[in-house]
């Protein structure tokens, strides 16, 4: 069954690169929002199996704000989030304790831009699978 993904990232060229990899895998339908506002709106209007989220957007780390909102929303709390960021080192301070694990917003995974197709598909598939298992067997 086709999985529905939402990508929120303000760099259209980067999005194009990710989207075409996901498209050619043939298992996903990908919606895109190019700013946090459109992204939040999309999340309220459609149901998604996974969110691909950029961190540095607009005036700062607005992706963090989105992730925080999601985790407070009873409807969206369980949705898996894959953070795709170019600033892993720079945003490390947002992740207290371990440098990489984004515990502070409890997102599921974090990969660095640019991301190899194999790694991207692997992460996307495994996150969706884990989330589904969680739904069946909470």
């Amino acid at each position: 069954m086709t999985k529905r993904l939402l990508m929120i990232d303000d760099d259209p060229d980067f999005v194009a690169g990710i989207k075409s990899i996901l498209d050619s895998a043939g298992e996903f339908e990908v919606d895109v929002a190019y700013n946090p506002k459109d992204g939040l709106k999309a999340l309220q209007t459609r149901e998604y199996d996974l969110l691909l989220l950029d961190i540095m957007m607009g005036r700062g780390a607005e992706g963090v704000m989105i992730a925080r909102k999601l985790r407070k929303d009873p409807k969206l709390r369980e949705m898996p989030v894959l953070i795709i960021t170019g600033m892993r080192e720079q945003i490390a301070f947002l992740f207290p304790g371990e440098p990489i694990h984004p515990r502070f917003v409890e997102v599921d995974e974090l990969v660095e831009k640019p991301v190899e197709p194999k790694l991207l598909l692997e992460k996307v598939k495994s996150l969706i699978k884990t989330a589904e298992a969680r739904k069946v067997n909470p």
């Binding site: 760099d11 060229d13 194009a16 690169g17 075409s20 990899i21 050619s24 720079q90 640019p114 197709p117």
Partner: protein, 369 residues
């Protein structure tokens, strides 16, 4: 905040304190006074003064001592010495202990007003300089973040599209086309890695580099660096000859940064080599260190340029022209090497070539890895 300048008088003579207060009365000043060094020092801590007058000859602790103690508390405080025994040597002594100026007794009201204004002006300039320096530091940090976003974002987008293109074409690619993809991807990846390492250095957080230290084979990093620059060397028909000791020991460090240092040094060696020239890379264990040297037979560096070539990004006065040819690469290299508690040195003879030597301390047995 009030706009009055706060002035502290430390003098044992009541008549001096009173007359000073009278001279400044009516002006935009707030004045506090102390009759000995101990009371004065206590006031310094709470009065937030812009300027302090200190009498040199007082009972109890001497004016010199007061100057020294205040300087130690805050070297930016401006102090003017008042004394009835004005000699050149005591003036020099006072200056050495942090005094800004000297006022011999007796003085006219006009002299006192003048020196007060000058002292306050000095204080203002000192604070301004500090603020400017702070701003410069912040700019540097911001610069690092701007660079990271502005350079990395387009590179990531390019690389991501390249990934996508290859992924989609993968079955139709001939081996030669595949090789071109690989070449491009590797170079792009190196570029991104380089920006990352530069960022680490520019943001002056060498500590972060150290957090990731592990056991590194110097030999491996040298080979990797040579591999990286080989295509550039080939274009100039430059030969790279290596002599690497087998007993080279592993060191504690960051492999990627060290490779970057070697790539940098090799890159410069190639750049300043003549076509068809030769570069000799030697690595050997010497005492407690691994010594890696890169010798070229190129144009060399003139003696007056030599002291400046590692300044790069942080170059001082007059260094700008001298260092421009080397960009920030050598400065970054030096910082990386120093983060490894190593040293980097250069010897050069114009027309004959240069030798850059990197010394890295060996990983000691039993040292945590």
């Amino acid at each position: 905040m009030d706009t009055k300048s706060r002035i502290l008088l430390i003098d044992d003579e009541e008549v001096v304190r009173d007359s000073c207060e009278q001279i400044l009365a009516g002006g935009p000043y707030e004045i506090a006074s102390a009759s000995d060094g101990v009371a004065g020092l206590r006031l310094v801590e709470e009065f937030h003064q812009n300027l302090i007058f200190v009498d040199l000859k007082m009972p109890g602790i001497s004016g010199f001592e007061v100057l020294e103690k205040i300087s130690a508390m805050d070297p930016t405080i401006v102090m003017v010495v008042i004394t009835g025994f004005a000699t050149v040597s005591s003036a020099v002594d006072a200056m050495k202990r942090g005094a800004y100026d000297f006022l011999p007794k007796p003085f006219t009201p006009e002299e006192f007003r003048l020196i007060t204004r000058r002292g306050l002006e000095k204080r203002r300039l000192t604070l301004e300089t500090i603020a400017l320096r702070r701003e410069k530091e912040m700019l540097r940090e911001h610069f690092a973040h701007i660079v990271s976003h502005e350079l990395k974002a387009p590179l990531s987008a390019i690389q991501q599209n390249l990934f996508a293109l290859e992924f989609e074409l993968t079955r139709d690619l001939t081996p030669a086309q595949k090789e071109k993809f690989d070449r491009t991807k590797v170079r792009m990846d190196e570029l991104l890695q380089m920006i990352n390492s530069w960022l680490k250095v520019i943001s002056a957080d060498i500590g972060k580099l150290k957090e990731g230290f592990k056991q590194v084979s110097v030999k491996g990093e040298i080979s990797h660096a040579i591999e990286t620059v080989q295509p550039i060397a080939a274009r100039k028909d430059v030969e790279i000859v290596t002599t690497i000791d087998e007993d080279l020991s592993p060191i504690l460090g960051d492999g990627l940064s060290l490779t970057e240092v070697f790539v940098n040094l090799l890159g410069n060696a190639i750049k300043y080599s003549r076509d068809g020239g030769r570069i000799t890379v030697t690595a050997k264990a010497e005492g407690g260190e691994d010594v890696i040297s890169f010798k070229d037979e190129g144009i060399g560096i003139s003696p007056d340029e030599l002291p400046h070539i590692f300044e790069g990004f942080y170059r001082g006065k007059g260094g700008q022209e001298a260092a421009s040819g080397h960009g920030i690469g050598l400065a970054v290299s030096r910082q990386i090497v120093e983060a490894h508690t190593g040293t980097i040195q250069v010897e050069s003879e114009p027309g004959k070539g240069s030798t850059f030597s990197v010394r890295l301390p060996k990983l000691k047995l039993g040292e945590p890895v």
